[in-house]
Symmetry: T
Subunit: 69 residues, 12 copies
């Protein structure tokens, strides 16, 4: 397909470990329903705090994937 | 589910009454097809004018909901 | 007119009541001198405080109207 | 005081009713500890959703007040 | 429908020709699955370069369409 | 005039053809009433869609022109 | 007037001396045609360079003034 | 408390290890004086370089905590 | 202290003279209560106009200072 | 090279014809001194006006190219 | 040198491991040709996805270094 | 050259005196190696504080200059 069209969806991944793990969980989840994921962009990094420590990293990403022409 | 993943969708609600009503209509509409809506963020507030008065409030929001791991 | 041109002007409406009323006052005022107002976009929401309460809502909008080709 | 200095603090007010009520609650709360509040600016409007309806409006504002020279 | 609700989806159209063609390809593709598209907004314009020339224009747009009340 | 002052006005040009044509129509229209236009900046690119095709390009620009000292 | 409406216009003042002088020249020029100017906001600071030195400061401001109810 | 008010403070955490560690140090420090921290948002990620390597990660966050009604 | 934590506060300094003087007044005022100020960032430059002249420069800055580990 | 590093440079291309031509001229010029250009992003679209018509399109882009590990 | 001048260059580092590693690779590469690097700022975090997993982290930074007076 | 191409570089000038002086020092330094500088844009204004006073103004600018066709 010479001139592909991509769709972007927005997801928030969460993790108790790290920014990277939060992104990976979101990507892995998207992959369950969409097979041809190509790229992501981080749009927001937040988190929940409990007892004075980061409890969850919440990283919002846009994920792009090609759709058939 | 310890590390949930959320999806965000973008909607524009409209109302002849108020910003709050426009948001509520968008949320109510989303709830018809997605049951576990959690939060929203206002991203744009616009409107149509007719005869020198605000005819419609048009409020664009992102709505987040959890997806199964 | 097939390809209209629109002009945008920026106004700050104020109100002791609400965001919506502040926008409506700005639109009503613009309508006094410009008849074909079409749409508005909220660009800033501020306000004055007196005695620990919101005294005035100050909502800045852009208002668009068509100009003759 | 000819050249006053102001301090800005950031607050998130919440309300089950409206954007305006959320702002007013934040301002009222700030007034408990700071007496000379002057103005506010809305920086974010979000909310929580429960059972397909807006449960809480969450409006983040900056509030400015003069500090003694 | 007096107070319609709109959904916005984000797409990246690509073209070897121009910005306009890239947008048109994204709109045409969206039209395959969604019939009542109403408007778009350009959110990013990028491209791939090969041999010192623009190989592909990549234009990301948001496309809005009405959903049933 | 050694230290000129410029005024900026905001216009939305529309065109069925292209981004460039939309800008040109806005500039041409402004020139009817203001003779010394100097520069423009694109601030927003949107459009209307009908029957799955771009019906109108809507390009919002700021146009600067010198005013007499 | 209890709930005034303000209009904002955008101007670029230029000066060989300083940012402040560029703003002052823009304000002074606006005052020629509009008497009740109230406030300004700096939106852009640029300049022209000649022979390795700043030749002109170009400061773009928005100027607000009240319009009759 | 049905309609809580939150305060946000801005902190820059630093770490020789990682973005996450820098955030955690800022959160831990805030916890010394404020007990009910709830969430954070990353607003800037910078760092110092020495001898061609990242010496310190400097991550600026906003931290929100509830204040008594 | 190897991994310091900094706090940022937001202030608006005002001056009849210049941007620099407004910043200096805000910094001087902050120094009365916080001794280890390190840096500032300008976040907004505004001003009040009276009789067609800039009456006050109002410069909002964020000021960073280290807090004990 | 498994983990390439890219450099981005910023260029403004100009053209009497179109946005696309302005970008192409900037890319072609960069290609004279840098051979492995990969992508570009449009960051600003402006132009000069003469006699009520767009005289030059001025499109500022960032161009990325890989540098040897 | 009392009043140093710094130059900022923009780089995208990539890594299969983490955000931090991507930044470090970009800094290390810049250090090959520029010795006095001082600081960096993260301006964009993206990545490539393959087989439902993050394949590469792509972190764009600005790197500042002093240049001789 | 009818359709020139410009390059933009980013510099941070510093000064103990003023914003203007910091910009001038950056421009003067750039002029040592690039002769045809044309314009600049201020992108960030920061500073270092020592003993409760502004010690250095740090103004980041983009400087544009034409490159041969």
């Amino acid at each position: 397909m010479k001139d592909p069209v991509y769709k972007l969806i927005e997801l928030t991944g969460t993790s108790t470990l790290s920014v990277e793990d939060a992104v990976n969980r979101a990507v892995k989840r998207a992959h369950k329903t969409v097979k041809n994921l190509r790229w992501f962009q981080v749009v927001d990094t937040r988190g929940a705090i409990a007892k004075g420590r980061v409890e969850h990293w919440q990283v919002t990403i846009k994920v792009g994937f090609s759709v058939d022409g």
